[in-house]
Subunit: 94 residues, 2 copies
């Protein structure tokens, strides 16, 4: 059954998803560089203080965008878990 | 300890995270409209065929961006779970 309204919504969702994927790819490129830089500079991999600041900042941004702040925190943790997973995998290849 | 390189990386990560949050806010606005449209048109809430197409598309985009395709699939499921959670919460307020 043709549904032009639904099709238009789905086109927008697909555009946003593509943007999200490419943005995430760029983010992981940077966190990879951060991992390499920290290893070279002898800095610890984790930085709980930084993470706390990131969470607070994203919660504030989420509120201003009428997005659930709890979701923005869950989202950041989801991404950070993947970053840690990447770092572990990178170490395992040495 | 001042570390200009790390500071610059973190600035980029913060910029990308802000973009991700605003993009996600826009995506949830659209899925909310989709939910309302489906309810009004008497369409079923879930559409497994659509989800399959979305996953395949995102996996292909992820590969072209050198992002782990498994992660892109995990990411979409994470977002879809939140959409379902929103829809349930919206129903519960009626």
């Amino acid at each position: 059954m043709a549904d032009d309204i639904l099709d238009r919504y789905r086109e927008s969702i697909d555009n946003i998803d593509a943007a999200l994927i490419f943005m995430l790819a760029e983010r992981f490129k940077i966190t990879k560089a951060v991992g390499e830089h920290k290893a070279a500079a002898g800095l610890p991999a984790a930085d709980p203080g930084r993470e706390k600041v990131q969470i607070e900042r994203l919660r504030t941004l989420a509120k201003s965008a009428h997005l659930d702040p709890d979701f923005s925190e869950k989202f950041l943790r989801f991404i950070i878990d993947e970053v840690i997973h990447h770092h572990r995998r990178a170490k395992a290849t040495f």
